[in-house]
Amino acid sequence: MTNATGPVVFVVDDDLGVRHMIARMVRSVGLTARSFACVSEFLAEFDPTQPGCLVLDVRMPGESGLELQGRLAEMGVQLPIVFITGHGDVPMSVRAMKGGAIDFIEKPFHDQILLDAIRTGLSRDAEQRRAESARADARNRFARLTPREREVLVGVVAGLANKQIAVRLGTTEQTIKLHRGRVMTKMQAESVPDLVVLAQLAGVMEKPA
């Protein structure tokens, strides 16, 4: 599927009328919708980099909505899901909500309830993608450091003074100063706290408990 400029609401429902209706409802509030008749059709065109959210019928011929939820979780995809169902039972909704679903809506539904759930899903997706891109950014910057610069970074974020780092790495304080300057530049960190945050995002450092 081609990357649209904005987020896309994916609608997967085997009932033609319902899936067109939801797509139309989504379009009526200015969002982009794409609809699919079954899970495999959706997966065939699925692009994890496309922001959006998923409106999913629980029970469908072939793979069910709950199965797709499980499969996406296995793939590490965090696309938010709004479930709709014609005959929901409690265990099913519990399973869906435990799997991280945004909502579990019974047909027929009021349009505002579905649209609210979709908006919640989209903002959660945007939030997740922002966080992920910050992490990727930090990782990229860290990847540009030389091995020695990485050692210095670890020392700095551990709160050591230049002199201590020098002793530890068996070099002079002056050299450490130079490395440290390069680390700050390459990581685009303004200050040591900045650097600590970037190191956490890059996964170099455990988050403090």
Partner: protein, 686 residues
């Protein structure tokens, strides 16, 4: 006992006589028993303490030949005597302990010291001795000794290894058991060694050292550490060890005391026990499974047997019933040229069955005793016989006591070629009342079964319908809401709007199709028309509705005219209609909170209209326009209703050629639902 070289007190005093009084005063008041024995062994002087200690007075002692041996406990006399001999020979001695036998027989422990006494000129004046009561000390010592012996014995004999080390981790001692495991010959050999000089591997020794350090540094016991240790004999043993800190008198940790127990055997036993238990459980499970299989088999067998017995019992009963009720009778009639009959003979069984006198049939006039409804059958029979055809008929006769009996009659005409007509009729009849009853029972049974089936089907149908209608409903609602939203925009997107409206129409039609399918389904449920006794059908409803009526605190009244004709219809479908109407009435009254809660079921017959069954409630009633709408599918006033009940009821009524309608109840109170059933021609073929 060393030879004394130091002269005594008297030795430094050249003249004892001068200060004798002073010395005597001091000596007399001494707490210990002081005595002076001359060189020849006689007691020269003893202080009064002797009486406190021994019970013998000074005077008594002075009178003794053998002082102080005479005061000594029999068992100790020998060595005390020996010491005395030494003392007389000029030796001195210290702390010779022995027992005294007091005057009252009690025994006291004492310690004696003695020195020779010299005059200033060096002449030996004998020996002085001092005897001190040490009974208390002795007792304490004994107790201590006993305790020590006990402890030593415990340590030596317990099956655990016991050891102690000092702060430098060097062994201070151990017992035999530990020595064996450590690979030293005797416990003493371990003293001063560290764990690194013993049988264990370095890693083990490191671990022991570590534990010892922890115990001593933290001043805390380590209890029940389980470890695997290689013993001096190479065996891997599982040990449970506890270590406690030892303290010096000032409370400082001075070392560590350890005790280890070889629990290898225990562990093995534990393991075996666990295995045994597991196996036991497996066996129990197996046995339980076997037992339950056996149980099931038994249950099946019992059920089979019960079924067989039941069948047997029923067939026996039926046989008994049949044999009681069935008795054939035979007859022969002569036919006169004018077509009238005259009985030639008639078996006795006729009387028994019909309870009529034989004369009743003398003229072959069956119609006289035949059930009103079956008269046409009998007349047809006669016509056939006279026309020369054999007949088999089933019809009812009315016995003289009013009982109705079913007969199965086989009759054969005897044709006379000469006369060109039937001259005789021979026949036999069988009482089949029992069979007929059994048939009816079976029919009732099947009807009940069919009712259950059909109710189940209706339930399933409703669930499926709910699903099938939910999708188009959802689509229509969603599209309608979207259309509203689109219209709210300043310049509505007409393409989308048209799409939404088109879909509403399309899926509205789809829903209509579903409903059409439902009606077809109901039409397919072809009524099974049978002769229908409306009165009996209504009576059956009374039993079925009782529970519902109680639940709604209401009464259901039945007013059934007794001139209702027999008609044709499916009693189960029609009962469903009536039950539905009565239940609706009950619910309507509950909903309206009616004071008087009565549903009346009134059945009447009018030649033009047919049978009309009217179900009236005393609920809130229906407005005139509602009176028609209630029959539309999916129209409901009940919170949980599907709105199909009355639609289905009307379909059933129409399938019977009848009608179902609603109108205000009598006196404009509540609602009346009327079911009209047409009466079909009195076709009473049996």
């Amino acid at each position: 006992m060393a030879e004394t070289t130091r002269p005594g007190e008297a030795d430094r005093e050249p003249d004892p006589g001068r200060h004798a009084w002073d010395f005597r005063a001091i000596a007399d008041s001494s707490y210990d028993l002081e005595s002076w024995i001359g060189p020849e062994g006689r007691l020269l002087w003893v202080n009064p303490a002797v009486e406190r200690l021994t019970g013998y007075s000074v005077a008594e002692c002075m009178a003794m030949d053998d002082y102080p041996v005479q005061l000594v406990h029999e068992d100790d006399r020998e060595h005390v005597r020996a010491a005395f001999r030494g003392a007389l020979a000029g030796t001195s001695g210290n702390d010779l302990s022995f027992r005294l036998r007091c005057k009252d027989g009690r025994v006291r422990w004492v310690a004696m010291s003695w020195q020779p006494v010299y005059a200033s000129d060096g002449q030996r004046l004998g020996s002085r001795s001092s005897i001190r009561d040490i009974t208390d000390r002795k007792q304490a010592e004994d107790a201590l000794l006993d305790e020590r012996r006990l402890l030593t014995s415990i340590i030596a004999h317990i099956p655990s290894g016991v050891f102690w080390k000092n702060r430098d981790f060097r062994y201070g001692g151990c017992n035999e058991a530990f020595a064996r495991s450590a690979g030293v010959e005797r416990p003493e050999d371990i003293v001063g060694k560290t764990d690194y000089e013993l049988a264990w591997e370095k890693q083990q020794a490191d671990y022991f050292r570590d534990c010892d350090r922890r115990v001593m540094e933290e001043d805390r016991a380590l209890l029940n550490i389980e470890e695997i240790e290689r013993q001096a004999d190479g065996r891997q043993a599982i040990l449970r060890t506890s270590k406690v800190p030892l303290h010096s008198e000032d409370g400082q940790v001075s070392g560590v005391l350890g005790i280890d127990t070889d629990i290898s055997d225990l562990k093995q036993v534990e393991n075996e026990l666990r295995l045994i238990r597991a196996e036991l459980e497996t066996r129990v499970e197996e046995r339980t499974a076997e037992l339950s299989t056996a149980n099931q088999q038994l249950r099946r067998e019992i059920e089979d047997r019960e079924r067989v017995e039941e069948a047997l019992r029923r067939s026996e009963e039926r046989y008994r019933l049949v044999s009681e009720l069935t008795s054939d009778y035979a007859y022969a009639f002569r036919v006169e040229p004018d077509g009238t009959c005259r009985a030639e003979w008639l078996t006795d069984a006729f009387v028994r069955i019909s309870k009529h006198a034989p004369s009743q049939l003398e003229r072959g006039d069956w119609a006289r005793i035949t059930h009103r409804d079956d008269v046409p059958v009998v007349e047809r029979r006669m016509r056939s016989l006279l026309a020369g055809r054999s007949v088999v008929n089933e019809f009812r006769i009315v016995a003289s006591d009013g009982q109705i009996r079913w007969l199965c009659d086989h009759a054969r005409p005897i044709w006379s070629e000469g006369e060109g007509r039937v001259v005789r009729i021979l026949g036999a009849a069988q009482d089949i009342t029992g069979r007929k009853q059994a048939e009816e029972e079976a029919r009732n049974h099947q009807a009940a079964l069919a009712r259950v089936n059909r109710l189940t089907n209706l339930g399933e149908l409703a669930a499926q319908l709910a699903h099938e209608l939910n999708q188009p409903l959802c689509t229509m609602m969603g599209n309608a809401q979207t259309a509203q939203r689109l219209l709210a925009a300043p310049s509505p997107d007409l393409v989308e709007l048209r799409g939404a409206l088109d879909d509403i129409v399309t899926f509205g039609n789809q829903a209509a199709t579903v409903i059409k399918r439902l009606r077809e389904f109901l039409r397919q449920q072809q009524p099974q028309p049978v002769l229908l006794n409306v009165q009996r059908m209504i009576e059956e409803i009374a039993g079925l509705i009782e529970a519902d009526a109680r639940q709604h605190s209401a009464r259901v009244l039945f007013e059934v005219a007794d001139d209702l004709p027999v008609t044709r219809g499916d009693p189960i479908q029609l009962q469903q209609v009536l039950l539905n109407l009565v239940r609706n009435g009950l619910e309507a009254m509950s909903q309206a909170g009616s004071q008087v809660r009565e549903v009346t079921v009134r059945a009447t017959y009018a030649r033009q209209e047919g049978i009309i069954i009217r179900v009236s409630d005393r609920g809130a009633g229906l407005s005139p326009e509602m009176s028609e709408r209630v029959f539309e599918p999916f129209f409901t006033t009940k919170p949980a209703g599907l709105g199909l009940g009355l639609a289905i009821c009307r379909s059933i009524a129409e399938a019977h050629g009848g009608r179902l309608w609603a109108e205000p109840g009598p006196g404009s109170e509540g609602t009346s639902f009327s079911l009209m059933l047409p009466v079909f021609g009195e076709e009473t073929t049996a």
